[in-house]
């Protein structure tokens, strides 16, 4: 329970920071995308509380704007994964037979492949080829969400399938079937409530996984493209600068770790409760 509260508190604070980004930047009088070549890699000061990056952009402002993108990608990808996973898991458990076999083999196949090289491959694909607009931060976000959902549904589907199968095999459900209750009502009245607990756990784990995956892709230069900032792409240059500006690498990584830990704490807390 305390873990659930701690996790929710962390995520809530980060969400507040993300929402407050424009006001914070206006109050500081900085633009997160405006380079200032005369003040590159400056240390913390009154104008720039966390200093500036290799192009002289304010690190705090970029961190806050990065929170918007990283959290939005995390939540949207998790939502999409959960939705697809719920549908696939429910379908597999309810229909059984060849539908179940087919869906689970697809899941096995996705798990057997090295996730990261494939994410890289998909991220490198031309967005126009799959009907997405090209260019701009919004297109990047949509692209990453789509790719992450493509892999993220597997875990959710397995959890949902296991939970649904165990409910469908119970005596009261079989009795309801024997009494002639319609399948739709069966799924709504008996299966859906039993799925709520594992689904919330899987969804919060998916948030953690998506935030981590987005930061990784952006770190590799395939996710959110500069000048828009995400926590991952803020770290992309940091490695080349470890000798001159080691502190620049600290904050974005800390933000990612906090967000992921927050989502995992929520999952842990929910699991302990359910």
């Amino acid at each position: 329970m305390t873990r659930l509260r701690l996790g929710l508190a962390i995520l809530g604070l980060l969400a507040l920071a993300a929402i407050a980004a424009p006001w914070a930047a206006a109050w500081l009088g900085v633009d997160p995308e405006m380079p200032d070549l005369l003040a590159r890699q400056s240390g913390p000061s009154a104008d720039h509380p966390l200093g500036t990056d290799e192009l002289g952009r304010d690190i705090l402002a970029r961190l806050l704007y990065g929170a918007r993108i990283s959290l939005a990608v995390g939540l949207a990808a998790a939502l999409a994964s959960t939705f697809i996973g719920l549908a696939a898991g429910l379908l597999a458990a309810w229909r059984g037979g060849w539908v179940d076999a087919l869906l689970m083999r697809i899941a096995d196949g996705l798990l057997a492949l090295p996730a990261l090289p494939l994410l890289v491959l998909l991220a490198a694909m031309d967005p126009a080829a799959i009907g997405l607009p090209r260019g701009g931060a919004l297109s990047d976000v949509l692209r990453i969400v789509l790719i992450l959902a493509l892999f993220g549904w597997v875990g959710v589907a397995r959890l949902c399938r296991a939970a649904a199968i165990s409910v469908l095999a119970r005596d009261h459900v079989r009795a309801a079937r024997a009494l002639g209750v319609s399948e739709a009502r069966l799924l709504r009245r008996h299966v859906a409530p039993a799925l709520a607990a594992p689904l919330t756990v899987a969804a919060s784990l998916a948030v953690a996984g998506a935030i981590l995956a987005e930061s990784t892709l952006s770190f590799l230069g395939l996710g959110i493209q500069p000048p828009a900032s995400s926590w991952g792409n803020m770290l992309a240059n940091a490695q080349d600068l470890v000798f001159s500006a080691p502190m620049a690498a600290l904050w974005p990584g800390l933000a990612i770790a906090l967000a992921v830990a927050g989502a995992m704490l929520v999952a842990d807390g929910l699991r302990a409760r359910g």
Partner: protein, 314 residues
């Protein structure tokens, strides 16, 4: 047991063929093809040359036909040439595989041993439970690339004890080991959490079992109960994680290899995929997928052998 193998092997074969098709189509959907890349690097090539080269290499054929040609070639044992390195694809694969096996073998062995030990500690000593849980959470939440950078800042930049990355220039075990320490630590920390959490959960469950109470009633010492009665039974579910990690062993660690500039499968796979190198990318992907699927089958069989209750109901 034989029935399971006879049923699963064809399934694995079909999965692999479909995976290769999906990967082929995905690589084909990336912008540019091998000839357009050659054209960009050589200004003397005209449109007629491009047409001729496309026809020569079969690139004017539809993707499906090219995939079929590739598949029949592989079944004859011909893996083709790597476009990026202009050498047989299989020849490129082995050195990278060796590098990854060394790095990931060390790291995963370390993670499995330390993770299991931490899990046992958490299950046996409730006082340690919070610390182990916290460490496991931390190790899962830290992005691998950030952890790598932090280790570089601490041990290479500030303390200057270890190299920041790259491959050893002088031969010798000690030199190679120096370059292995930081990437191994990064990977081991990242993989440790899964073992710790699963061991802790399954140990706690096993310790509530009736035969443990029976062993206590007979007066068996606690240490013997934990190590001989509980741990082997608690370790059965760990086989599933071990099987997934077997695939990781072969697929390399893209992030860690990139951060520490080590040659390996992760980087090779990515380069091959990005460089439109169908032969190399597919060979590497199939190697990884085959290893994971076979390891999963092996883990399944081992679990059934160790715990006859699994699958008895079917």
């Amino acid at each position: 047991m034989l029935g399971i193998i006879a049923w699963r092997i064809p399934q694995i074969a079909v999965t692999l063929i479909l995976l290769s098709l999906a990967a082929y189509l995905a690589i084909g959907a990336m912008p540019g093809d091998p000839i357009s890349m050659a054209m960009m690097s050589d200004p003397r090539l005209g449109p007629a040359d491009v047409e001729r080269m496309r026809a020569l290499h079969g690139l004017d054929q539809p993707l499906l036909a090219r995939w079929w040609a590739w598949l029949t070639g592989v079944l004859r044992g011909e893996f083709g040439y790597s476009r990026l390195f202009a050498r047989p694809a299989a020849e490129i694969l082995w050195p990278a595989l060796r590098g990854s096996l060394l790095l990931l073998g060390t790291a995963l062995a370390l993670a499995a041993i330390l993770g299991t030990a931490a899990g046992v500690l958490a299950a046996l000593r409730p006082a340690w439970r919070g610390a182990v849980d916290g460490l496991a959470l931390l190790s899962q939440a830290l992005p691998a690339f950030w952890l790598g950078i932090l280790l570089i800042i601490l041990f290479a930049v500030t303390l200057g004890w270890l190299p920041a990355g790259g491959a050893p220039e002088e031969p010798g075990m000690a030199e190679a080991a120096r370059f292995l320490v930081l990437p191994t630590a990064t990977l081991a920390i990242a993989h440790l959490a899964a073992y710790a959490r699963h061991t802790a959960a399954s140990m706690a469950e096993v310790l509530r079992a009736p035969w443990i109470t029976a062993a206590r009633a007979r007066g068996a010492p606690e240490r013997r109960i934990a190590m001989v009665h509980a741990l082997p039974n608690a370790a059965v579910p760990l086989l599933a994680i071990l099987a997934l990690d077997a695939g990781v062993l072969v697929s390399g660690a893209l992030i860690t290899e990139t951060v520490f500039a080590r040659p390996g499968m992760g980087k090779l796979l990515t380069d091959a995929v990005m460089g439109n190198d169908h032969n190399l990318a597919l060979l590497a992907l199939l190697l990884v997928a085959t290893t994971t699927l076979l390891a999963t089958l092996a883990a399944d069989l081992a679990q059934r052998a160790l715990d006859p209750r699994i699958g008895a109901g079917r």
